[in-house]
Symmetry: D2
Subunit: 299 residues, 4 copies
């Protein structure tokens, strides 16, 4: 169900970019030192984003450089940049977009988000590769395998010790060498050790505009509360349920005549949009996490 | 600061309408019986809204009738309608829009919502009359009196017994014979007896998209939580703080570079819109409350 | 790529409904006469919408009745209703939702809208059946046939006489006995005779917020004009290009850093939403056309 | 009708900033050279925005510097920066926000936008000063003068030679030494010589989502076209009517039951928001014009 022709006709010739993502304590002259470094190595800056947070006194930047203008290969560039980064006490990464990020999808019995991600992957809208889907149910095996993707069924017991199952899931994930794990309507609470193992690269879609309606059955609770808008939140998963850093939120107006099943229907569109956009920002190195907030240099 | 010319040029000649608002247990044939009643009395129906809630099995309707086509005057019409309403076990009202509703405004030190309501009143966008403003501070006396509106300063003690002050406020309100009390950024929690005295006609604007960030300092907490949208909620006040039936919600997208003071600024526009729209729906008899939900037949 | 489990769990047991759609010159007592007719035949009204247009003096209604409460079968009900409808000089239909509407899809080389419609059909979100896809290219044959849907390739010559090809397309459509034809990014202008043959049941998605950017290359022209929002419009097709009655519009904010290919990407989400919602309203008998405007009783 | 207390309580202590706005042909090393210049003069960068347009190969930047960290006073800083700017073939400005911009308002008989601007000015939300209002009608004299603002009535003849009147208006504007002229629902088409005299600092609010419904009566035409959304556009005025560079657009959904006067009502809220936001971006040096497009570094 894939269209690989439609979008690319109008796209310009893609350029390989090298992206610096960096955050550090704010001080005078930061941007000058960093851009001078890349100018020194011949880099043509395609996109520069910078944000100096005056409350936390923290500095964030994302710099996209035309790879072929750089005098150094990536490993050498990283090595050359390290002393400056150390001096700035920075958290940083330097990556190229030459390889799509590897994304493992976790799903239960609600498949609209996964189907949407598959479509955006296959149509090249989303620069990812999906090597593996893991589910606590068998329902989507056929659909996933038909896409040529490995499907692993790892049931989670309804009660008792779940750690064994989640440990197996963690090992299965790690074996796929993922850059990113996405819980695309995965209906089990993940244990702390799983959240921590993939800290900063585990993304969830929650079907409410957080922090409203954390936890189970948000649409039903939204209906009962009589809200006039519903929404979806794409966020990083932390051990605190539905309390991790928010990447993207999408809302939709509702009215008194919308029943809980209408909220589900309208909410699905919010979920698809919020999740696919959040993932897009993440895999294009546009999200920087600081504490419980995110800096998102949108495109 | 009023424009009484601009809007009316394109408005059609206003028609006096008589509005029925009714809710009752759902059953077969309700709308037929009600519309037949008005057809029998010659009423030309200008607008009919109906909603049958399949979950609560409850029926809601709002019917606007061209007053001059009705064979009976309002008191006689009410009397004629009462037996049918009783038979339906209905909660109902029959009103004309000939007289604007009387609205008392409560305010503290943040005046943008009050200023907006004044403007919409004076420009005839909002069919209300504002006979009285009450504040726990003196700040807005000059501004309010300049508009020819009575201003009453009723301070609320920071600690200790506040009931005496709120009792005086209740009496002052009642003396103004209000159809509606609006807390337009009034920064004191109202006691139960006050909320109950004006049940169903006491409207608040809360500066968050409820149920997120109930209580104090919602913008600061929204900033700290790192949400990607902020909002405002117009709702009826009940003894449960910020938990009453919601009439209208307005949201605005925010990004990482929006500081708490930016949220305040953007939020003011949300508040103005949500409050003025919520009031508009209320004073034009477009809101029906049922439990903690509202049916809003928007215009 | 289908999820038939996810949504239905929370849906209530579906009820077969019979829907009246009616428009006629406005006059006193209309709704009373119509609802009394159905009350007389035992019909339990699930949903009633009514709109009396004061400018055109025209009356519109949609009434959804619980089929099993009706004393008459559909053909008999239609026969019983006809005299009243004639008396009202009404345009009307009485249908049940027992059978999904048959929808033929026309597509060229851009497949995101078709893929979205397939997904909503298979997941039962959209109550339609898709028996046939027609394209002026071969690109989607495999994808369409994999879904078990007939695919017909009808090339349209770039220049010269196209009427023969379009006549064949018209016949092919008619042979599929469609309730609805959807041009889901079909990149050929349809001739008048085709538009007229399916008047009122031919729906297009245009990739701009009409009436801005009618015709070709709307995203590029939106970029050149420097607009701060883009959008998509779902509308009925008439012989006037992109000028038919609008059913639904969806917009998205854009900024200076969004290049034409970004507008395409963001626009795809607008198109999917506007088209699928417009189709939903149409196939659930929620759209009434009057002149060049639509009345849409949304759900 | 002003609240000078509400907002400032939560605002942090304001910092005087010096803002560079610059655009020039794109080339390698631009940002490095510019930020190094300011680092050299001790400037602490509070906010840096940069956009390199890959289609036009043009570079745009806005840099806000904490004034008191700069080693040079503004005139000396400008002098020091000039050689670099010349070398870059740049269009540029260096300003401080110490003085609010002077804004002249032109209005006809529709006052909601002007009233809104007055309120935002008086509440210090908008960093402007309004020394003068000019109108082709007398209607708002009292309201304007009550605010302590000079009011000038310059009637424009309905037919015949209007140049004399517009010349007088131009002189009156220039005498007020304005940084910005705003046509806040001014209902006369301005002549070319007036548009050119204030090129880049003449801002209009048009009551449609341009380019739809350029020219007169946009709401009525929106109603007749049956659009499902209306809007307002804030743009720079050029001799081409309603075709100048767009700064901001705001839209609102409408439905079939919204009559032309409802569009006017809902549109007023769009107009207020779009105009006040557009002005805010302009007076805080956040808008760079290039051809018929704008780069807006929003806050």
């Amino acid at each position: 169900m894939i269209d690989t022709n439609g979008q690319s006709r109008l796209d310009r010739v893609p350029v390989t970019t090298t992206v610096l993502k960096l955050s550090c304590p704010d001080r005078v002259g930061l941007l000058s030192r960093i851009t001078t470094f890349f100018a020194h190595h011949g880099g043509n800056l395609l996109e520069v984003h910078q944000f100096a947070d005056p409350i936390g006194s923290w500095f964030f930047t994302r710099i996209a450089i035309e790879t072929e203008t750089l005098a150094l290969e990536l490993p050498a560039l990283r090595k050359a940049f390290a002393p400056l980064a150390n001096d700035l006490e920075a958290e940083w990464s330097l990556r190229t977009n030459a390889e799509p990020q590897r994304m493992v999808v976790l799903v239960s019995k609600t498949g609209h988000c996964m189907a949407d991600l598959f479509w955006r992957w296959r149509s090249k809208e989303l620069p990812v590769e999906i090597p593996l889907v893991i589910s606590n149910h068998e329902d989507f095996r056929e659909m996933v395998e038909r896409e040529g993707v490995e499907f692993r069924h790892i049931p989670i017991p309804d009660s008792g010790d779940r750690d064994e199952a989640f440990s197996r899931m963690l090992e299965t994930c790690e074996a796929a060498n993922p850059d990113l794990i996405v819980t695309a309507r995965y209906m089990r609470v993940l244990p702390d050790f799983f959240c921590k193992a993939f800290s900063g690269r585990l993304i969830n879609i929650h079907h409410s505009f957080l922090p409203a309606f954390e936890g189970a059955n948000p649409y039903r609770r939204a209906y009962d509360r009589g809200v006039k808008l519903i929404g979806a939140t794409c966020h990083y998963v932390t051990p605190d349920l539905d309390a991790g850093p928010i990447i993207e939120q999408v809302v939709e107006r509702v009215e008194h005549f919308h029943l809980p099943e209408d909220l589900l229907r309208l909410g699905r569109d919010c979920e698809r949009l919020a999740l696919s956009r959040g993932i897009r920002y993440h895999v294009t190195d546009r999200v920087l996490i600081h504490g419980n907030r995110t800096v998102v240099f949108r495109d």
